[in-house]
Symmetry: C2
Subunit: 412 residues, 2 copies
């Protein structure tokens, strides 16, 4: 069942506002089982609103619209819909009363401009707005059901849940199931090659990819004759995807890499200490943006200056002078130092050149040394990361590499 | 000069990704003087890509497109454009070489799927991508110039600035000038109230707002009979805006708050040490994502556990027990402790309850104590932040509040 989302507003076409209604509606409609194939956004222009509505009604069974229901002169959605349908606007006395009562409740008098918010195309089905002045409405345009809601996100979401969903749920097909797998460690092209042929093997399955540096999300969508069949088709294909990607898949759904690493630490009962340099606090930030990091994280010593490495972590000045701050020796000394001062079970350290300056021939921008210290000893890794990347990409990739070492230490 | 933005990707129509490219492009095109009247978004479907392109080419003079240039099978933009134009795809050997060299540089072999990223509709003008594998391209469709870029935001933005702007600027009307001011410290509604009446006083000026939590960007756009007049009109209005907002304006253009604070530290020749708790490394991350932080930052001790506050910063256990980790006394001891161990000129500390759990009646979620220690003594501030906010919002707001204290300490 194809479906369109239609957002109306000059603030959107001029980029003054990042549209969050559109993605929210697209996700909600997809979850209901609709196939959203287009999101249209036009400015507050009567002719363009009419033309777009007529065009979308040519193929979509459901059109969900937001915006242009306010009291000002640039709000002209109701008017445009009436013109598109060739019907007059009619005042709905019930809605007018509701708007008037809303103003009385907050001790104000309704202004005449608000009265037009009670005007709807003749025959429209009014959608109540319990938390704002603009009611919505629903009309049929040809074969399509078109539903109009205000653009204020919290009013729109409530109206969608309470008024729109009951009206469109009966139209939604119930024939798909999707699993999202989260991966880190391979570029998109290699992930794609590893999964080549899956769509042919599992008819009805579509594999989608979404890159969010440095992760690749793999989406396994199955469509079948009913929901149960789609579910088992999806499960079978997902099993094959997991087999081919092995431990490149770190989680699914809304898992985050830091969250999975935190879970691994928690399940082993390990405490963690970190000593960062080039990543400047990013590893700590990634772990602590998830709730519950205090279960395992004792300290993250971002020892940016050499003096701090010595003062806080006890890295010897001779070692810093002899090998340089970006070296296997200093990485090891940082990890061991922060483990000693904190008493943590595991300690991770990172030292490198994030750029754009500071690179040398021997240690170019992107060079990172990482170490993990535990009672078993200290492991040091050398990486040359993303020579194409900018500073923040190198910091991000280094932080992921560090968390990956912690994950491995928990598994080992 | 009317213009359309066209975003391609099933992840967008399904709402899996909030589209930031569309608003960014809409704002950039508006800044160049174009009138953007539609943003179209369709899924990775060949027929819909073709139909939408043809439709947009019917009225838009410039069509700026993103997405669908990746190496996987669901990336089909080039293919669809070729079909829309009725021309074959042709491999561009120069682009193929560039892609191959990119892989060699990072020590890997180009996979066959990446080769298709060097295929363009015959006659296309190739747009180089210096930081990714997918080049873009430009074609004429009827009266329209259509430009295609990858969907990865940082690749898209660079390609737009370097390749697209030079090609489309000659098509833009040359009668406007815009200044972007960056503010922190007031909500959008209050910023709006302070600037009420500016558009009436300065005819031809439009004030726009863009909220990017916790900042509000204020755009002053002036249109006049020619560029020079627009420039002076914009300057006059900007002066008035700055006067009304005073030091809520921290910078302009592409300034960042952390970058401005870093500049202030550098200009005073101050070194900085930080002790974080609830913000978990975010302050350090904000400062170090900007190049050159090593000029002033000595250390950021993220002392998450109480034991770390004692071991690394010398916060006395009695103080922690007596007042709790989230207290004015502990904030002061953390700032003084990290200043002592690092020898920094200035020290900032933050301790608070980021939530979602851990709040009490006395210290609810959002409670933060901040301290700045210097040779002049220690200043402690108490804040109750964004009780409506989630964990990351509270961490972000607390980090901004901390950087603001450092900025004030540099000014004082």
């Amino acid at each position: 069942m194809t479906c369109a989302v239609f957002c109306i507003g000059t603030e959107l076409t001029r980029g003054e506002l990042v549209d969050t209604n559109g993605p929210w509606l697209a996700a909600a409609l997809t979850d209901l089982g609709f196939e959203v194939t287009e999101k249209a956004t036009v400015d507050d222009d009567r002719a363009r609103i009419i033309a777009t509505l007529k065009r979308l009604a040519g193929w979509a069974r459901v059109i969900v619209c937001t915006g242009g229901l306010g009291p000002t002169t640039d709000d002209m959605t109701s008017d445009a819909v009436a013109e598109a349908l060739g019907v007059p606007l009619e005042r709905d006395e019930g809605s007018l009363d509701a708007i008037r009562r809303r103003f009385e409740k907050i001790g104000r008098t309704m202004s005449e401009s608000n009265a037009k918010q009670a005007d709807f195309p003749r025959g429209a089905d009014v959608l109540a707005n319990p938390i704002g002045t603009a009611p919505g409405f629903s009309v049929r345009i040809g074969e399509a059901t078109a539903l109009f809601m205000p653009g204020v996100p919290r009013e729109m979401k409530r109206m969608f849940d309470e008024q729109v969903v009951p009206r469109i749920r009966p139209l939604a097909p119930n024939d798909s199931h999707q699993v999202r797998l989260r991966t880190f460690g391979l570029p998109e092209s290699v992930v794609g090659e590893r999964l080549a042929g899956i769509e042919e093997t599992f008819a009805g399955v579509t594999i989608g990819y979404r890159a969010h540096f440095p992760e690749i999300e793999v989406k396994v969508l199955a469509r079948a004759r009913d929901e149960a069949s789609a579910h088992s088709l999806c499960d079978a294909a997902t099993l094959e995807v997991r087999k081919r990607l092995a431990d490149v898949v770190y989680g699914d759904g809304d898992d985050t890499f830091a969250g999975v690493v935190g879970r691994a630490l928690r399940s082993r009962g390990y405490t963690l200490a970190i000593a960062e340099s080039c990543t400047g606090g990013l590893v700590g930030h990634m772990l602590t943006r998830e709730p519950g990091a205090s279960d395992f994280l004792l300290v993250d010593a971002v020892t940016y200056a050499n003096s701090a490495k010595t003062q806080l972590l006890g890295v010897e000045e001779d070692v810093l002078r002899g090998h340089g701050a970006v070296s296997a020796e200093v990485a090891a000394a940082m990890a061991e130092g922060v483990r000693r001062v904190s008493g943590a079970d595991l300690a991770l350290s990172l030292t490198g050149v994030a750029g754009p300056t500071g690179g040398t021939e021997e240690k170019p921008v992107g060079t990172v040394f990482l170490a993990v210290a535990s009672q078993k000893g200290t492991i040091v890794k050398h990486r040359l990361l993303a020579s194409f990347g900018d500073r923040v990409m190198i910091q991000t990739l280094a932080s992921y590499a560090g968390l990956q070492l912690v994950r491995e230490a928990c598994a080992g």
